[in-house]
């Protein structure tokens, strides 16, 4: 190979490798993005069916019910306007409490129950998961708009 050809070969292989890597990354990125929906948005049928997404808000007071196996838990997530019933099997995080903020990831089943495979509450007592705080704020704005 002439030096000029060799240089060209290096550049072409380098660029194509970077192109492949970029395509791979963006493809993985697109298929693994998880969107967030508030209970009001879910009630308005904005959430996708059969695809994993996140919901968030407050755990409604008095809504936590443990099934007889001890590890399956039902609770209700509210943004003070609309509610979603959630079912989760497993140990809940330490800061999961009634009246506190929560974010759950999972799928919506046909009967309207959100089947969570992950429940998140963050590592600080004073701190509300940002998505949950956002959902409450959105619902508050909606309400004031409606009462006006």
């Amino acid at each position: 190979m002439k030096p000029r050809h060799r240089k060209l070969a290096i550049i072409v292989s380098g660029v194509s490798a970077l192109g492949i890597a970029a395509a791979l990354v963006l493809n993985a990125f697109e298929s693994n993005m998880v969107f967030f929906f508030s209970p009001s948005q879910v009630a308005a049928n904005e959430a996708p069916v059969g695809k994993s997404f996140r919901i968030g808000g407050l755990v409604e007071e008095g809504s936590i019910k443990r099934q007889s196996d001890g590890v399956t838990v039902n609770f209700v997530v509210t943004d003070t306007a609309k509610v979603i019933p959630v079912v989760y099997t497993g140990i809940l995080p330490d800061l999961f409490k009634e009246g506190k903020g929560v974010v759950a990831q999972g799928k919506l089943s046909a009967d309207g129950v959100f089947r969570a495979d992950e429940v998140l509450a963050k590592h600080d007592e004073n701190y509300m998961p940002p998505e949950a705080a956002g959902a409450l704020e959105q619902a508050r704005i909606q309400k004031t708009v409606m009462t006006q």
């Binding site: 990354v25 001890g70 590890v71």
Partner: protein, 674 residues
Amino acid sequence: MIPELGNFALILALLLALTQGTLPIIGAARGIPSWIALARPVVQGQFVFLAIAFGCLAYSFVNNDFSVMNVARNSNSELPIQYRIAASWGSHEGSLLLWVFMLSAWSVAVSVFSRHLPDEMVARVLGVMGLVSVGFILFLLVTSNPFDRLLPAALEGSDLNPLLQDPGMVIHPPMLYMGYVGFSVAFAFAIAALISGQMDAAWARWSRPWTTIAWVFLTIGIMLGSWWAYYELGWGGWWFWDPVENASFLPWLVGTALVHSLAVTEKRGSFKSWTVLLAICAFSLSLLGTFLVRSGVLTSVHAFATDPARGVFILAFLVIVIGSSLLLFAWRAPKVGLGGKFDLVSRESMLLANNLLLMVAAGSVLLGTLYPLIMDSLDLGKISVGPPYFEAVFVPLMTPAIFLMGLGPLARWKQASLPELMLRLRWAFGVSVVTALLMPFVMGEWKPLVSFGLLLAFWIIATIFVSIRQRLHNSGQGGLFTKLARQSRSYYSMHLAHLGIAVFIIGVTLVNGYETEKDVRMEIGSTVTMGGYTFRFNGASPVSGPNYQAMRGDIDVLRNGEKIRVMQPEKRTYNASGMAMTEPAIDTGLLRDLYVALGEPLEDGAWVVRVYHKPFVDWIWFGCLLMAFGGILAVTDRRYRLKVHSKHVETTTVVAEGKRVASNAGLAAGGKKA
């Protein structure tokens, strides 16, 4: 009084940092020796004042001075003394003070261990570090002063986050920061090279040990953080691809690329511009990481809107540092030059390919970390990017990198022959394929992904053996041990660090492939069996700690009907904050961990209990330790010590010369007398 003293010390440090960041650089440009000579004493003075400032903050924490806002928010009189000291870097303000204090410690180290460098060079390097220091101290004084008073004083502090009340968390942030800040030395060397336009093998040799030490600290810091998450969060995971973790992983990836690129610049004089660019990137990502974690932007993008001073300062600082250094790079890099040429198949080209793969990996992590933040701040919707994305990207990117990792050390510099390499490595490849195919059967079940992971790990190990055998074969006469002793430390350090990667991969592969997890309801006396072990729950009883109340579970572990261990996981509630926390019990072993955590209490003394059997999980952190040891070994290589040695020779010759001059003068004087 003491906090005010700290504040004054901080202001004086700022003035010294301003001096350090201007006069020596101008002096080096204009050739003013007295300004150049200013660099070292100013650096040392700044260190003294920052030490005083940090000491004052620690003093306020130790003495529970709740009239200081920072102390009132992050400490408590019930907090044990070691955690009160650790609390001084537990908050945003305190951690930034620690950051800048460490920066000055690194600067002092540079000023002390740089006697053999040209004075202009040292002046420029220390000047750049001074400018970084100015930015940080200004940020502290303007937006986040750790000495701000709280009037009237609080009667009691609101406590340090219980998750941080742990020995691992006491040393994790300082280690991580030592790594972050350490890259500032490489950065300063790179900027100094751009300013002067001089960059040669000697330059690479000077900055290499500094970069390696920073990389070692960062490796250990990340390892401690991962280990802490494993035993403290109660989820049994060791890496979550959380933005906080990614923030430390990004500079590590680029730093790893930098360490390798520096090796090429030192040995072959190639990759010059690339090395400089990597040094700028590594430090920029360290800055980004510090601010991502410490500014609260991750908690809520909108916290920026409520406290715009911090956000605007941070963004402005990042833009100035990254923007000006990239501009300088664009302007001056052609002067530095690309360095030596190499063939399409050579050790250089393989290292370059791995550098690119590491950078693409870093870019994809950056995308996954920042994209949700950008979307949110522009009100385009809330999204999250979880572990599946990072895993989908990382495995395909790292596979060719690891393949090349085995090939590279055996390839010749400048020009290598692919057929010859294949011939030399055919056994290594065969052995690693066969072992990788058979090993999963030993573990009980064959899984394709496990086999694949093990193939990568065994490939590394096999090529290390081939490399060492070949090296010994080519190193002349003598017995095995004389030959082994003849190899340089830097040669062994490379293989040790690579072996660390192999051990790490084995740990990750086996724990992902064969771990078992159960969340079960356990009544008193009931058992659960997993991985050949039986766990018997004997109930939970209340205990009280220094600043918390807890329920402590009592679980017998049985193997073949014999009791081998008692495990006592706790569920704690901290007095000051009322925060609940899970404290798992872990039985660590070479081949497996047993992990038990208490969930929630049920009726009649029963509990929900989480039980894990995690094969080979400790190999993950052991692998990281091997990488770090590799780095330490590299820094102790003979050629760095030789320099110290030759410096001695230099000084002795200077002294001898001085004596000769003196005696000549004496003779002359004597002559006059006579």
